[in-house]
Symmetry: C2
DNA sequence: AAAACCAACGACAACGTTGTAGCAAATAAA
DNA sequence: TTTATTTGCTACAACGTTGTCGTTGGTTTT
């Protein structure tokens, strides 16, 4: 069922029908109603690719993220989708699986009008950003969230990672920790660095000498991470506090503590960035820095649609910073 | 950068260029190489909507699911995306938020060639299926997974819900439970009924009289659910076992037990369908029936692409059933 | 050497829309 | 009454591809 057939059924030219459907002032009310009724009767729907081709707009955005099985990215998609649905846009999902090559391949797919805009959070691996620069050169509206590329000229939605790095570290200090380890991930990621800088700042503020042996550079390899953490716990001056920059490292720490029969929070206190819904039900319940993931999605999508809808507003380079919240639970409780 | 410009740069007709790019036998190897080189140099990418319009294929599939912040649907998307990426397809995500009206609106969007196929899991609310019938009539390849529509003629990928209903119930019985409550959700859903039938069958097998007061019809309203569960625990013959058909009801049970100072598993044992990654770290660790979510996504997508790629194979109405696994943990431990 | 054939390319008509330009008839202004 | 203007509709040319059908020259067959 296309315009031509619909027009034939109505004995009208297909341009008249097209205009009637889009409520053009050139068409009489009587004809419009006739067309609308027939369109409904025959269940006519415009062909999206024909329309997109003609209008040079796809009414689609892409969301490029590392993974979807994740308590942070899940709600973000939710937020993006809620705005997209309001605006009548469609949402394509692309997963990089933390692989820069995949990220590059995906950005290539998005260069030729498939989408009107892109929301993106970088993979852990991404060190080089020429593929992102290419997107900017093609003038495709682009908004980064959380894991941003600082050198790319695009709006960014982040959380107050530096401050939260401070807050989390101070929370451990206030609860009696003196040898606080920082479990870092992906040195390329801006969030990782900001969180670590907050950690270092807090130590400085409280006159604790930073110890490079307490800063672990973890990777995507979980087994390796566990070995590193185990080594950390076995060194002479075992840490009494763990600040994990991501959830999975905190869970790894839980596992290692169980293995080594260390008790949380008596022997070690643990805090991490996490949006886990069941943090309160862990054993022990996990103290977290929780990011406003849903709001980040909505905020980012709102900015993206501003860019998409009135192009040329490149001055709209707003960097939005939302606040995360520290939720203290038993894993950091003073004994 | 389009074909016309590329052709001009090469001093060739654009049909020649088009054929060269698609490796047609009509074009000499020398020309092909020249075209390929120039295309790379000028970073030419085919316009997807023009190509789709011409070929009447969108190279895109839709995934329609209730929600994305979910340890089941997350891995499913992962599985689907992995197959889609292999096949060079794009993935559109649509969330129904368990709302039948949204589900209907979404299916309408998918009627006119936007996608070549659909993977779908129904919303809790979906009782009527005429909107799904419409998809079938439009001959859009459609595969259901997990929450299927039994009366729609389409391939379905499910898990052995009935058997697992039996297994979970027997697990509770074996650990000493005699008054087992079933926390059901959404009576419209096939999975809910199958799980409950398994529960009833297990009771029968072990000569336990089913008690309607122990079967709770929960809904999307969390506060209401909690009230129901609280009432359940306050009745004269308090249940000593809880079989929750979904994870969130198990967590609600955990909360109510904490409120009423009931201890799991001493006072009540709890088991539920769940793909939570941290089930082992809950307090107490949660016994679960875990579905092979990622595999379901891959399996479903594989079937979908068979349908998409050779249309007319409607005999391909395979109903695939994958097995879930019962993982016993402390929440059902015999005291 | 004429007939048949093939290899390599170009012209062109779709695919289904949309917006601009055109064209009658009806209405308003001169 | 003639000339503008408006109203309501149609014709048509894009948008960027792709596949069919021609059209060349050159090579092989008989």
């Amino acid at each position: 069922m296309n315009l031509k057939e619909l027009a034939k059924a109505l004995n009208l030219s297909f341009s008249t029908v097209s205009k009637a459907l889009r409520d053009s002032h050139e068409i009489s009310v009587a004809t419009k109603n006739r067309v609308l009724a027939k369109a409904k009767e025959l269940n006519y729907q415009v062909n999206p690719q024909a329309s997109s081709l003609r209008k040079q707009k796809s009414k689609t955005i892409a969301v490029v993220i590392p993974e979807v099985v994740n308590d942070f990215f899940g709600p973000v998609i939710n937020g993006i989708e809620s705005i997209a649905q309001e605006k009548g846009y469609h949402v394509l999902i692309y997963l990089t699986h933390e692989d820069m090559q995949k990220e590059i391949a995906i950005t290539k797919l998005l260069q030729n009008g498939r989408v009107d805009g892109i929301m993106m959070s970088l993979s852990e691996e991404t060190s080089d950003t020429t593929h992102l620069q290419a997107l900017r050169e093609n003038e495709i509206p682009l908004v980064f969230f959380d894991r941003i590329a600082e050198d790319i000229d695009a709006p960014k939605v982040t959380t107050d990672d530096y401050n939260c790095g401070i807050k989390a570290t101070e929370h451990l200090i206030e609860n009696g920790c003196t040898r606080i380890a920082f479990l870092s991930i992906a040195p390329n990621l801006s969030i990782s660095n900001k969180r670590m800088n907050g950690y270092l700042e807090a130590l400085k503020k409280h006159n604790i000498k930073p110890d490079n042996g307490l800063i672990l550079s973890c990777t995507g390899d979980e087994a390796k991470n566990k070995t590193l953490i185990k080594q950390l716990f076995k060194r002479k001056n075992r840490p009494d506090g763990i600040f994990a920059s991501v959830e999975k490292l905190a869970i790894a720490a839980y596992e290692i503590c169980a293995e080594l029969t260390l008790t949380i929070p008596q022997d070690v206190k643990v805090i991490c960035f996490s949006n886990m819904q069941t943090a309160a039900w862990l054993n022990p319940s996990l103290s977290t820095i929780t990011q406003p993931a849903y709001e980040m999605g909505r905020e980012g999508a709102s900015i993206l649609f501003k860019l998409v809808e009135k192009k040329g507003h490149h001055f709209l380079l707003e960097n939005t910073v939302l606040n995360s919240a520290l939720v203290a639970r038993n894993s950091t409780k003073r004994s």
